[in-house]
């Protein structure tokens, strides 16, 4: 890996709608270095998810530039963006997004499918990562047989199985009770300690308190002041 930042956004702007455009992000700069643990906070509709989508290569900025490991990815085609998502990024969503008719292990394996890894190695990796997430005894359980906390840990395991460089989390504790929230955040702390770069969009102060840095967004603009931990 180079010394380039994991992700760098320069003067990024994003508008939605054509008749009466709504600015979701305005002239926003953000740099994520390796091992950063950054929380993105702000009220609903402030642009947090839009920012995460751009960081996660799920959306493109209308203005400004986006670099991933020093390479400009702003104008990349869909296929190249998909490859970079598979290689570099892991996603954790508020609503888990587990496939209901597949076991925990199969859900985690799905994360490895688009890396071209063979079936046996996918299974081995999925079992290993689920064990690291404390779910070694729940490999064959379907999502409906798991608690909310367990489902989110399966989703985190799915993201981690691909050995991403950046973990992109959108309200990862939004559907969890306080006990499971702490368990997920403890897991993030361990991952952070292992060197993973994490960016989390959240409303939850408990989440932002654990981050190295907090980026506060309002009306699509960066209103934050960095909080050194």
């Amino acid at each position: 890996m180079t010394d380039d930042p994991v992700t760098r956004l320069r003067s990024v702007g994003r508008c939605y709608g054509s008749d009466t455009p709504v600015a979701a992000l305005v002239d926003l700069d953000l740099t994520l270095h390796a091992r950063d643990y950054v929380a993105i906070t702000g009220p609903s509709g402030s642009g947090k998810s839009t920012l995460l989508n751009i960081i996660g290569l799920l959306d493109r900025p209308d203005e400004g530039s986006h670099e991933l490991f020093g390479q400009d990815v702003t104008g990349l085609g869909e296929r190249a963006r998909a490859r970079r998502r598979a290689r570099h990024l892991g996603f954790v969503f508020q609503s888990f997004h587990l496939i209901p008719h597949r076991s925990a292990c199969e859900n985690v394996e799905l994360g490895l499918l688009y890396q071209g890894i063979g079936a046996r190695r996918r299974t081995e990796t999925a079992e290993q990562v689920l064990g690291q997430c404390g779910l070694g005894d729940r490999l064959d359980a379907r999502p409906t047989q798991l608690s909310g906390g367990e489902q989110q840990r399966v989703a985190i395991a799915r993201a981690l199985a691909t050995a991403p460089d950046l973990l992109v989390c959108d309200e990862p504790t939004g559907n969890l009770d306080s006990r499971n929230t702490r368990r997920v955040l403890d897991l993030f702390d361990h991952l952070r300690a292992d060197g993973l770069t994490i960016v989390v969009a959240t409303h939850d102060p408990e989440v932002s308190e654990r981050a190295d840095r907090v980026v506060h967004i309002e009306d699509g603009r960066d209103r934050s002041r960095a909080v050194a931990r």
């Binding site: 998909a82 609503s95 496939i99 688009y114 990796t125």
Partner: protein, 401 residues
């Protein structure tokens, strides 16, 4: 965490496995979706099978006698009137390839009345038809002599006054034994009965006839010409002989000869197959279209229901091509399944229908074996639009569900 050396490209086998897993997760829906294709392919196989079977039945029903009989007559001759076929008609026709035997005949109206020796001062007349025939005519109609013998070329050449009786004519004349050389009078001319025929299934009207040599008829009754040639061919040769006999009898004007030959059984079979299968193939085609629309519709609904999964796969690095491939593979698998089941159902239907009709089932195995291929093509085609919808879905919108 474990480090990998990813290619970021899913393997084709893995995408196929994903498609199978996608279908296996909703087995009832997959089977119901395949039903349209099942019906279409089953109808197709059944229609082709029944058409082939029915065509084969035609051959079974065309019996040997009908299939090998050709009759040639002077087209201009009035019923009962004189013809103008040449005297060597039988010889000309016998030389044609495919002819087993041929005989020429002509009715002799001037041979009436038919009488026997006066009984008790009475001279009864008998209602029989008198024909001049060439000696080998009996072979042409597969006739058998019950008693006595058939006249031969020598009788014909010498115009000898001999006769052979049909079985019913013999009964009418009360002649059942020719050892005493019984006589019959044709317009007062005595002929000696030298033989009596068995019933002839192939030419039943000869049972009422009295047959005399052509040479005798020419000399005694001034027979002007022959009017009919009866031909027996090898099996399968009758249509060909039928086409050639006019030219053999009247090279200058073959159309002057009316030829009655059985239809070509192969052409008849093909025609029957065509008639039977045409409508059924139309129905099968409609069923297949409906099947394709069913697969397309259900797959499209599946795409909309699985928006969240599509968004997730997008986030995990699935390219548009990977997503499209997965959904096309799923619909292709449904079509293949439908084709497989439809082909089997079609074969079963043909066997059952033939068992009910007591027919021998005939079916080209290429059709049921082509069922899965046809189903796959239908499924793949039906999956193109839903797959395009899935691939063009915005990952952000898809993740919102």
């Amino acid at each position: 965490m474990t480090q990998h050396a990813p290619t970021a490209r899913p393997r084709v086998a893995d995408l196929a496995a994903e498609a199978v897993a996608g279908l296996a997760s909703r087995p009832a829906r997959a089977v119901l979706t395949a039903l349209g294709t099942v019906l279409g392919v089953a109808t197709l196989v059944t229609s082709v099978g029944m058409a082939q079977t029915a065509g084969n039945q035609i051959l079974t029903h065309i019996d040997e006698a009908v299939a090998t009989r050709v009759t040639a007559q002077d087209a201009a001759v009035a019923p009962g009137g004189p013809g103008h076929l040449p005297w060597d008609s039988a010889d000309r026709v016998t030389r044609l390839p495919g002819v087993v035997a041929a005989g020429a005949t002509a009715e002799i109206p001037g041979a009436q009345p038919i009488t026997t020796i006066a009984i008790g001062g009475q001279t009864p007349t008998y209602p029989a038809t008198v024909y001049a025939v060439t000696p080998r005519m009996i072979g042409a109609v597969q006739g058998q002599i019950r008693t006595g013998r058939m006249f031969d070329a020598r009788h014909d050449h010498l115009a000898e006054p001999v006769a052979v009786l049909g079985d019913r004519a013999a009964g009418l004349l009360r002649i059942d034994d020719v050892s005493g050389s019984p006589r019959v009078f044709l317009a007062g001319q005595a002929v000696t009965v030298i033989g009596i025929l068995d019933p002839i299934a192939r030419q039943d009207d000869l049972g009422d006839a009295i047959l005399v040599p052509v040479g005798y008829a020419r000399q005694v009754f001034r027979l002007p010409a022959l009017d009919t040639v009866l031909i027996r061919t090898r099996r399968g040769a009758a249509p060909m002989v039928g086409r050639q006999v006019g030219l053999a009898l009247d090279p200058n004007d073959p159309t002057a000869i009316d030829v009655a030959a059985p239809p070509d059984p192969i052409a008849t079979r093909a025609a029957v197959r065509g008639d039977v299968s045409g409508l059924l193939l139309l129905l099968a085609g409609m069923s297949l279209v409906i099947g394709a629309l069913g697969i397309a519709n259900v797959t499209l609904v599946g795409v909309l229901e699985r928006r969240s999964e599509i968004g997730l796969r997008n986030a995990l690095g699935a390219s548009r091509l990977s997503l499209a491939t997965q959904f096309v593979a799923e619909s292709g698998l449904i079509g293949t399944l439908g084709g497989l089941l439809g082909g089997a159902a079609g074969v079963l239907a043909v066997v059952v229908l033939c068992a009910i009709r007591r027919w021998v089932p005939v079916l080209d195995l290429a059709y049921p074996l082509a069922g899965p291929v046809l189903g796959a093509i239908i499924g793949l085609a039906a999956g193109i639009y839903p797959a395009w919808k899935a691939a063009s879905m915005s990952p952000i919108d898809a993740l919102k569900g």
